[in-house]
């Protein structure tokens, strides 16, 4: 390599990095979604509520990031620069495996999260919402069910389960459900309302308590799913801006 080419190398590398970084996706947050106007929600009287998508049950109790005691041990190891990242990866992997095993042993198999959320959502709207008819269904409506609906609310529960919510001598977990809702006007396909929410059970217990009592676990999880349905209904009513 000639001396001229060698001296030009840093500039070529820098230029390549700049060009590549220009092509890479930016870290800027996505543009905020348009908030539907409350006027768009008027005259919708008959709703069909359907559940869509997969739901993943998880028990997140393990800490993916090792704590201070881990760092205290690792810093004395010979070759810590190489060993520390390997040990960290191993720690995270084991933690994930333990969580997956716990989830497999804890999941109440007779609970369909989307159905529980949809039914609680419909019940809450019947009491407080401006709608005349709310029909929860476990599939997209067809025929008369679809023709008679003013709008379709699609509910998704991407994840639910148990999650550590307080750190300390006695770590505690609570039921959780992450939920999404989207209301679409049947005739036009226009999305008039969207909402995402992290819902957490107000009650907190040790993971041991849940592990040893399947009935308690089931009840807690159903409670948090029903709470999710009520929370979504509350947000929908609030989005109406007083219209009934």
């Amino acid at each position: 390599m000639t001396t001229g080419l060698r001296s030009a190398m840093p500039c070529v590398v820098a230029l390549t990095i700049i060009l590549l970084s220009g092509c890479a996706s930016s870290d800027r947050p996505p543009a905020p979604r348009m908030r539907p106007s409350s006027a768009a929600l008027t005259d919708l009287r008959r709703l069909v509520v359907v559940t869509t998508g997969e739901s993943r049950f998880t028990v997140l109790h393990g800490v993916k990031e090792p704590g201070r005691s881990f760092d205290d041990v690792v810093k004395w190891l010979p070759g810590k620069d190489i060993l520390a990242p390997i040990a960290r990866a191993l720690y995270s992997g084991l933690s994930w495996l333990l969580d997956a095993d716990r989830a497999e042993r804890t999941v109440p198999r007779d609970v369909v999260p989307g159905t529980v959320v949809a039914e609680a959502f419909a019940r809450a709207l019947q009491v407080s919402g401006p709608f005349n008819q709310i029909v929860p269904m476990d599939h997209e409506p067809v025929g008369d069910d679809r023709r008679l609906a003013d709008a379709i609310v699609r509910l998704t529960v991407p994840s639910w389960g148990l999650m550590r919510v307080r750190e300390g001598d006695a770590d505690v977990v609570a039921g959780f459900a992450d939920v999404r809702a989207q209301m679409v006007v049947r005739e036009t396909g226009v999305i008039v309302w969207e909402h995402e929410e992290d819902v957490t059970h107000p009650g907190r217990l040790s993971l041991e308590a849940f592990k040893h009592d399947a009935g308690l676990t089931r009840q807690d999880l159903v409670d948090v799913l029903e709470r999710a349905g009520r929370r979504l209904a509350s947000e929908l009513v609030y989005a109406q801006d007083g219209r009934r």
Binding site: S38, V63, M163, R164, R166, E167, P202, Y238, A239
Partner: protein, 198 residues
């Protein structure tokens, strides 16, 4: 010697104030006016509402949590009871009712039972859980008799940096907002307000 005493006291107070500020982290939790909408309470004919001073019944009134890294107390810029009372007043006024010092048609009394921020982990993926729990009671404005009561809990989970003051505030703001929205969309509360004589 005597004139120096007030100066000395003022100096001690100033030093103590600075020391307290350094030892704790302050977040300005609030329920912004722009977030407030009309809800079910707007369907009730306008009432003169006395929003009684909010009682702080938290076990630990000195803080709302501790920083994940160094466990310093996190405190609110204003009294928690005032934050909750202001939020209630905003909801009541937005829904077309008049908040009066007294006497009124109805008395709204609230107790704060929890206003707390938990943090799990100490990394860039620290999970925060903010909880706001209040007990709300409706009383007849004339007799003072309690006619209805209910508890509300607003919870927010969010993953953020371990030292993110912005995240602490956002988590508690949202927990408070969720509590207030549950209040504003409660059909039973609206019904109990409607039943109070005007």
């Amino acid at each position: 010697m005597i004139p120096r005493a007030p100066r000395l006291i003022a100096g001690v107070i100033a030093v103590l104030g600075i020391a307290t500020a350094c030892a704790s982290r302050t977040v300005d939790v609030s329920y912004p006016q722009t977030e407030v909408k009309k809800a079910l309470l707007a369907n009730v004919a306008p009432r003169r509402v006395v929003v009684a001073p909010v009682t702080d019944r938290r076990g630990d009134k000195d803080r709302i949590g501790a920083t994940p890294v160094d466990r310093k107390p996190i405190v609110t810029a204003r009294q928690v009871a005032d934050i909750v009372r202001d939020a209630l007043i905003r909801e009541v006024e937005k829904n077309g009712h008049q908040v009066v010092a007294g006497p009124g048609d109805v008395i709204l009394a609230a107790d704060v039972e929890e206003f707390w921020l938990d943090a799990v982990g100490r990394s860039s993926a620290t999970q925060y859980v903010g909880r706001v729990a209040i007990a709300l009671a409706v009383a007849d404005g004339e007799t003072g008799d309690r006619v209805w009561s209910r508890r509300y809990v607003g919870i927010r989970r969010q993953t953020a940096e371990a030292d993110s003051k912005t995240a602490w505030r956002e988590v508690m703001d949202t927990a408070l907002a969720r509590t207030m929205r549950d209040v504003a969309t409660d059909a039973d509360l609206a019904l109990s307000l409607a039943r109070t004589p005007r």
